[in-house]
Subunit: 370 residues, 4 copies
């Protein structure tokens, strides 16, 4: 029985908690994990959340979780800047680590985390949940089977509108210290899809933009925005494909869009995370007069949908993707070497690509990722 520690109880902390609670009911083959120790910023909050989330113990100090001998794996769901210290400490304590993405604001920290993971011999996985959906998995299968032929072009966009209100006050996400902007917040997600579907990015050139040059502060003044809500990238992949990647966190009307267009010599595939229970396939093997994009609703034929619902077209939810990820993590901990996870090595490559994009913007030129 795997002992679980959880640090953080915000958006992703709750998402991990739901996954740890539900994973065994969904995936019968999984060992039922034991929810051992929850850590939060203070004892009172930890205690309250510990009850809600079903953990046996709760502490106001994350180190108590990391060092608990009954804990085998630690979920790290705190803000990004805390990931390095926590992950490295957990790995040093011999724990498996399940850390939310991105790894860290600074590339050097992500490198240090990766080093720690390599040294530890433990499972060190990142929370890239979008790669787990049945649609994305089946798209991967179709690409591998050559159903749309030789791949030649990719377009991928990720857009939300949580920064779109010009009247929202200046906040920490507008400060340079928070990173580049949309590039950190969003680009890692489409790049996780690129990683599992196509492999590595080789060259990039990026443009960034600020929809709003200034924002009002809580004090009533105006302050220049230092990050960029929009980034647009031309890119080349190592597999020879050309493509573009675009992200925008000020895109009014978009809520959770990750739109993917994949073109091959025999067809094409479309996907949008806002309707992630379906995808679209166009194949030239259909009779010409009846060629068209098929809207395919995910169902039991698309792994692992059937573990959630035996009937097609009933739909998985965002939290279900984390349950799938949790199952993969448990399998990896059990020794299964064929799991679908983005580990720290893969994650470092994603962050390397993001930093290359930022560099190409600053230098106004094409940049090689490696």
């Amino acid at each position: 029985m795997v002992g679980v520690g959880l640090i953080g109880t915000g958006f992703m902390g709750k998402c991990h908690a739901i996954a740890w609670n539900a994973v065994s009911a969904v995936f019968p083959q999984a060992d039922r994990p034991r929810l051992v120790h929850l850590g939060e910023a203070n004892a009172e909050l930890a205690s309250r959340k510990g009850v809600e989330f079903g953990f046996e113990k709760a502490s106001g100090d994350w180190r108590a979780v990391v060092n608990d001998p009954e804990v085998d794996v630690v979920s790290i769901t705190t803000p990004n800047q805390f990931h390095p210290e926590m992950a490295i400490a957990a790995l040093a304590a011999g724990k498996h680590v399940w850390c939310e993405k991105p790894m860290a604001p600074a590339f050097a920290d992500a490198q240090a985390m990766t080093e720690a993971a390599r040294r530890s011999g433990r499972i060190a996985a990142l929370g890239y949940n979008y790669i787990q959906s049945p649609a994305i998995r089946h798209i991967g299968t179709l690409l591998a089977e050559g159903v749309i032929g030789d791949l030649n072009h990719l377009r991928i966009e990720m857009d939300e509108d949580f920064m779109a209100d010009p009247d929202a006050l200046f906040g920490w996400k507008h400060e340079k210290s928070s990173g580049y902007g949309a590039l950190d917040d969003f680009a890692v997600h489409p790049l996780s899809l690129v990683a599992v579907l196509f492999g590595r990015v080789s060259r990039v050139i990026c443009d960034m933009a600020r929809p709003y040059a200034e924002r009002r502060t809580a004090g009533g003044n105006s302050r220049a925005v230092e990050t960029h809500d929009i980034a647009s990238v031309l890119m080349r992949l190592e597999n020879g494909m050309s493509g573009t990647l675009q992200v925008n966190r000020s895109a009014w009307g978009r809520k959770g869009r990750i739109a993917v267009q994949i073109f091959g010599s025999k067809g094409s595939i479309l996907f949008d995370q806002e309707r992630f229970n379906e995808f679209q396939l166009y194949v030239t093997s259909d009779r010409p007069a009846e060629q068209g994009y098929r809207t395919i609703l995910v169902g039991p034929q698309h792994t692992p949908y059937g573990d959630f619902v035996p009937a097609p077209g009933h739909g998985l939810g965002f939290n279900d993707l984390k349950i799938v990820e949790c199952r993969e993590l448990l399998a990896a901990i059990r020794g299964d070497r064929d799991t679908r996870l983005i580990d720290f090595d893969d994650g470092l490559e994603i962050e390397r690509t993001v930093h290359a994009m930022a560099r190409s913007f600053e230098q106004e030129r094409w940049v090689d990722v490696r």
Copy 2:
């Protein structure tokens, strides 16, 4: 702490199990239930599922669950014909009951269950999960607010294709003893939406059809199909609306469709369960040149989406609806009188309507429901 018993571990049994496991992590206000006793057809299966689903005890006899003094509420997820005996026994033992729908093949049995529930003073809820989605709840709010004005017309369709294959063998669902066909399988679902959004149906006339008159049997012969995969109904509601209800379990291409069209004097609303994380609203208060159906993605503004995910447009899944239902049930057990549940009384009205539809088909005439 509420003690939970679960009878049945199939499609709906697993769905209940996931809900019981996850409800407290999702809804912090809920008491964390204690998973006490699981019942299945035999001890071995019960034992295995008990471990997977996290129950303390497991029995091959459902009566052990119903009579377990540590059990406060019993989930009944067995085939419909077993509902009456189990539900009545559980209520007689002083337990709250959470029973899957429809109540029973025979109306008299459903009446007996309702009687038992009234006598018991316990919570007796049915598993009508589609009424729980944030979209349907928000549609209810919009209707109550008069956003689309006075309601005048309703169209509702429920279609799947699990019976559509003409080469599938004759099975028990093709025998008259299983009921009317699509009317039993499906009509109760749209009628549950009608119940929460519009109230009671007053008059109906129904037509039924068999796409395939015969099917091959396992033995190689051919046998006449006795049930109807298709039913189409004209109806009048007590609130004065006219409408239609159509169901088809042989509708190739449809996987989990429940398409609703609601027309009022100031606008209209569209919904389809296959994309239940969105709905469409047309209002005449928009400027004429920009009137159009808005595709609204559910988000934290639509209760109780925000308890699952704080960001809009990320999507709930089918199983999440059962978690919402579970929360409502727990609230009702705690004494909350303002919960959204279809109890045995409401459920009986739904079944009365279904039987009136069947009668109108047999008699080829309009039939009053009451």
Copy 3:
């Protein structure tokens, strides 16, 4: 060279005029018609429209058109009540007739028109333009080829919102003398599609409804509405299919919707006139994990799209359908016996069905069409 007369210059009159002007440029095989004589209610309007529409002569009396020896074919686009007299006179004068639908408010008049057409030996065609679209034609081909197998069920809806405003004043369409309401206005259109795709309707039962019981008059009083904006019909076809037909001219948000759902033993087809440059096809011959509705954009493979545009997906317009119809009419006049037209005989059958629907509502029972 075919000499053309046109009576009426409203919505449909203009549509005919565009068609007569453009048909030869679109369809090279067509004889270039000569636009001879335009008739309107008065000489001044006739004269002005004659110039705009390119007619050689113009008269304030329709009889001058009908009796013009240079006129070979007469387009009749006046209000429905004038159709019988004009069509019968034109046929008697030895002209071919192209008359807008429906034929006439009274069934007896439609019968008289049909009799006149039979006696005349001339082409007598009705303006059922929706049957001419490349999508509907290709759907017909697919059905004939058996691509979706044996047909078993049909749903068809036609909805617009031009009557939806409760504050619009009482008008002639609310008077009983105008007919039944939506049934006359709309039902003939879906029935024209039924005629070309499936054949005859055998039995019906209809319900009708009034969204607004009264309307204000121009004089400031209130008056009871005598027609029905909504009609819903259960029906059986002679080919054995079951189905429903629904029409609503008070359906806020719907502008030109004619939604068709066709179910067969091997697939299904969807179509909506609001997006008539595409249709959807689901076939079970696709690999199970990739079955889904294909959205097929019409293109040169779908007759007669290629006569308008050589590139696929560029789209035809509403007026283009009338150009196609015009081409069919010219071919019929030239003696081609294999044209796609709804003649007076076919049209009479459609009107017979509408009247049977109305009767079934009044008598609250199933009615046989013949």
Copy 4:
């Protein structure tokens, strides 16, 4: 009465012919043009097409058209390389010119055409039909009214699949002499929309790609492809917006896609030419819980839809856009200075931008357009 000459009878020649035939029936205010003289590559073809298209005269020499004293305006619809000589000759002969886009393969030729137009004082318009659609026009109105606030970002894609088949033989469009590839074929269309909606492009960086490095020749050999089917561009506009422009003529599944995404401080607008009878609008002035993209079907409120059809949602076709353009041209010829046309000056700016894109690809760096 305006005398019309037409050179060329291919895709665009036919499109012009339909427009010249139908324009007066559609737009009553237009003078009815007189179809005087048609020119084609040889007398026989000219003569045949002259009859079909309704022209009085026909010649196998385009100079006869240009020099016909009865001709006031010349439609030039021949392959691009012939545009300069014909347009300059027609302008020199004192004719108005309506020339298909793009102007010419070489920028210097386009400049010479623009010079000739300036000197002539005649109307010199280009056939950019996509700017004429009611949806695009209304989007322009909404942007001008500030309905979506201050504009900040633009994405525009144009994709078709006529080059997508890897087994299609090497043709002239794969030779360097034909131009850059998709950039010439497609980019001018989205740039025409940029011109009317947003103004000029200031800076660009472009990447191009070849899906297929080689193609088989008719002779059975293999030959290297010299043009690029894919181009992706980062761009900055003079109005301060950032954006991207992407074109792909080997995009399997895309038939006539021009997808536009426009983001502002108060909302966003989406459009796709494959469904050009609708557009989508998201505005933050809607109540938060009901914000969503409205799918707005074009109707009489959207100029000049109502000139074609008085009822909304019935749809215009591709050829109708050319009829609108023809009306604008006739108005300009009559002296109306407020028409919506892309003249040679505007067209030259579009071609300047395309060439800057190509240069930025060759030089692998950002390039200023002017």
